[in-house]
């Protein structure tokens, strides 16, 4: 009984915080928009008992999902988000891996300080940090002033309100999520394996590719998911740093919800986004399991 209670706690949280909200969103995505409070119909009327439930069930339909296939805006926005999320995940990995690697190579007494430095930005509000990038990247911003004073450029670089600014913002914001899992994977690495590789004739670089990289794979995968998933649905960073030509699904979702007041279509967009994210992750994990079993 005790054991059952212990296991049921995490399941209860999963149920309350993930499954129930998802079912509510799914239900709204099958509704129709209406000018009322709340702005969709049908409403479940429990006072009418079973007949009310039946009536409610009959009024739900897939219309909004059909609508998503009829306008190319949604597919283009999904694809564009996918491209931005993949590119920024790769960029974050390129920047983050050397940082994590450097941290594990640093003397033991430095590590807590280095770890602190990676986490420190979280103490400032995310919104303020993204806003401050505006003043760095703008035409009269710090970066352009610096480059122009150094004489490297004569006209200011236009970075703010472009996709480049969005990539900078995403890589900056999510860098700690990439660094920390890779760091914890590398920290567990057994030094003697590298010595053995070198004893067997590997150069330091080949030893890195053949030993260090594969052993930090789990960290890389965890870090990539932690960056890719929020980047895919990102709204704040493209809204503040991107231009009006930056097409992302988060922005489309916002417009459906706020400008069109169409909660059902907004919910349908969100459900599809969730499926796009979950299906590849589940397939990936299945594949991993298979490989692990084959390895045994």
């Amino acid at each position: 009984m005790k054991r059952f209670a212990l296991i049921s706690i995490p399941y209860f949280w999963l149920l309350a915080l993930f499954l129930v909200p998802f079912l509510i969103v799914l239900k709204i995505s099958l509704s129709d928009t209406e000018l009322s409070i709340p702005p969709y119909t049908p409403q479940l009327d429990l006072a009418q008992g079973w007949a009310g439930v039946k009536e409610w069930w009959a009024a739900l339909d897939m219309e909004n999902f059909v609508w998503l296939t009829e306008d190319d805006l949604y597919w283009k926005a999904y694809l564009s988000s996918l491209k931005i999320a993949i590119t920024s995940t790769i960029l974050t990995l390129i920047v983050g891996y050397p940082i994590a690697y450097g941290m594990t190579r640093a003397p033991d007494e430095w590590r807590p300080t280095l770890m602190m430095l990676v986490i420190l930005p979280f103490w400032t509000s995310f919104l303020i940090r993204v806003y401050s990038w505006k003043s760095i990247l703008s035409n009269e911003g710090l970066l352009n002033q610096l480059l122009m004073n150094l004489g490297l450029i004569s006209d200011p670089l236009v970075i703010l309100n472009t996709n480049t600014a969005v990539y900078i913002g995403i890589v900056y914001t999510y860098l700690p999520f990439m660094v920390l899992p890779i760091y914890s994977a590398l920290e567990r690495l057994d030094e003697s394996l590298l010595e053995a590789a070198e004893d067997l004739g590997c150069s330091r670089i080949t030893a890195f590719w053949l030993v260090t990289m594969p052993l930090s794979k789990q960290g890389i995968i965890a870090g990539s998911f932690l960056v890719f998933i929020p980047a895919m649905g990102e709204y704040v960073i493209p809204a503040l740093l991107g231009g009006s030509q930056t097409l992302m699904i988060g922005k489309v979702l916002f417009e459906e919800f706020f400008a069109n007041r169409d909660w059902p279509v907004a919910s349908a967009v969100a459900v599809v986004l969730l499926l796009i994210l979950i299906i590849p992750i589940v397939l990936f994990q299945k594949n991993e399991e298979k490989q692990r079993e084959a390895g045994k």
Binding site: T33, L35, S36, I37, P38, P39, D71, D72, L73, K76, A77, N139, E140, N161, G243, S244, Q245, T246, L247, V252, E255, F257, F258, A259, N260, R261, D262
Partner: protein
């Protein structure tokens, strides 16, 4: 630990006592009142005033339609108000509790009656126009002394926009204001709800899109004041705030506002009481306080927007009541147009068109 618990306990007790004392929660646009008025209200009535701000009608509307916002007074614009009344978001005003209601100005209340029949649910707080803000020096430099600064051709004629692009042009990120303006420019009915007519705005806007630096509804205030941009389609009072900021900074930037001679949108921000307001009694007290002629004049003198309160006009400063950009002359008033809310299907067409214009998709 014990002390924390104790403090928490006192805090909760304080919150509880505050809830039992009378309070009113007001949700208004940002930078839209003289804060001294808020203190005056508390001193005069003994009611605690909790004052929150928002910066877009869409955010307010989402709160209203979700229900249970907890606010006693909110300030939607006319078209949004109309839709929210239909949705049942507001309660009718009790005129017996509004002794200052006679101060209201019929010129405005006849117009707001189009959104709120009989003005049964709302009072006018401020009104203004959507027009063109310019940096006088830079526009003359780009287009010469006879630049059409009071015409929509300044922003919708690609030949003019090409020359202005170098010094920077911003448009409001508000399809319900820019699309009617484009329709007014080509002589169509700006309040059209016909998707075929609305579609005629597309080529006009697409042709000038490459020269628009940004679509944004508040950044242009600072950008105009600093001289970063030279033209903005914006709201009257906001452009005038930019003018004042430039004056104060003494940076040599001269900002001016003109309504368009082809017609400009006239909009109204209306104070209303949500149907589920926790304290409608105090909400009426607040509305009555705002309708006091001295209080309303103080608010207008502070934010540079015209109000719908005729009695307040004798207390307005000369640079407010005497400025035709704030209080248009009777002839100019005739050229102003109003719009009505788009039905849901047409709203979708408008939003989609706007996305297409902005992002090219």
């Amino acid at each position: 630990m014990k002390t924390t618990m104790f403090k928490l306990g006192t805090a909760l007790a304080l919150i509880a006592s505050a809830a039992s004392a009378e309070e009113v929660r007001v949700y208004n646009w940002s930078d839209y009142i003289d804060e001294a008025l808020l203190e005056k209200f508390e001193a005069e009535t003994g009611i605690d005033l909790i004052y929150d701000v928002f910066d877009s009608n869409e955010v307010l509307e989402t709160k209203m339609l979700a229900g249970g916002s907890g606010y006693d007074v909110v300030v939607p614009s006319g078209t949004f108000l109309q839709r929210q009344i239909v949705a049942g978001a507001f309660q009718p005003l009790d005129l017996s509790k509004l002794s200052n209601h006679g101060n209201m100005w019929d010129v405005i209340s006849t117009r707001t009656a189009a959104y709120d029949p009989g003005n049964a649910y709302s009072i006018n707080y401020m009104w203004g126009t959507t027009g063109i803000g310019i940096n006088v020096g830079k526009v003359k430099e780009a287009l010469g002394d006879d630049a059409p600064v009071d015409s929509l051709s300044l922003v919708f004629d690609p030949a003019n926009m090409e020359k202005l692009a170098g010094c920077g042009v911003h448009f409001l990120d508000a399809p319900a204001e820019i699309i009617p303006a484009a329709l007014a420019y080509i002589g169509e009915n700006p309040d059209s709800h016909d998707p075929d007519v609305i579609a005629k705005a597309e080529p006009i806007l697409t042709a000038v899109r490459p020269y628009v630096q940004k679509f944004h509804s508040s950044e242009y205030i600072n950008a105009l004041a600093n001289g970063d941009i030279c033209v903005a389609i914006g709201w009257s009072g906001d452009v005038l705030q930019a003018r004042d900021r430039a004056d104060e900074a003494e940076n040599g930037v001269e900002v001016a506002y003109n309504a368009a001679k082809e017609g400009s949108l006239m909009w109204f921000d209306q104070m209303a009481i949500p149907a589920d307001a926790p304290n409608p009694e105090a909400a009426h007290t607040f509305l009555n306080f705002i309708m006091d002629e001295n209080n309303m004049a103080a608010a207008s003198n502070y934010v540079y927007y015209a109000n719908g309160n005729e009695a307040s006009q004798k207390h307005l400063e000369e640079d407010v009541i005497g400025d035709p950009a704030i209080y248009p002359t009777p002839e100019a008033l005739k050229t102003l147009y109003t719009t009505s809310p788009y039905p849901a299907k047409v709203q979708r067409v408008v939003t989609r068109l706007w996305t297409k214009i902005k992002s090219g998709t």
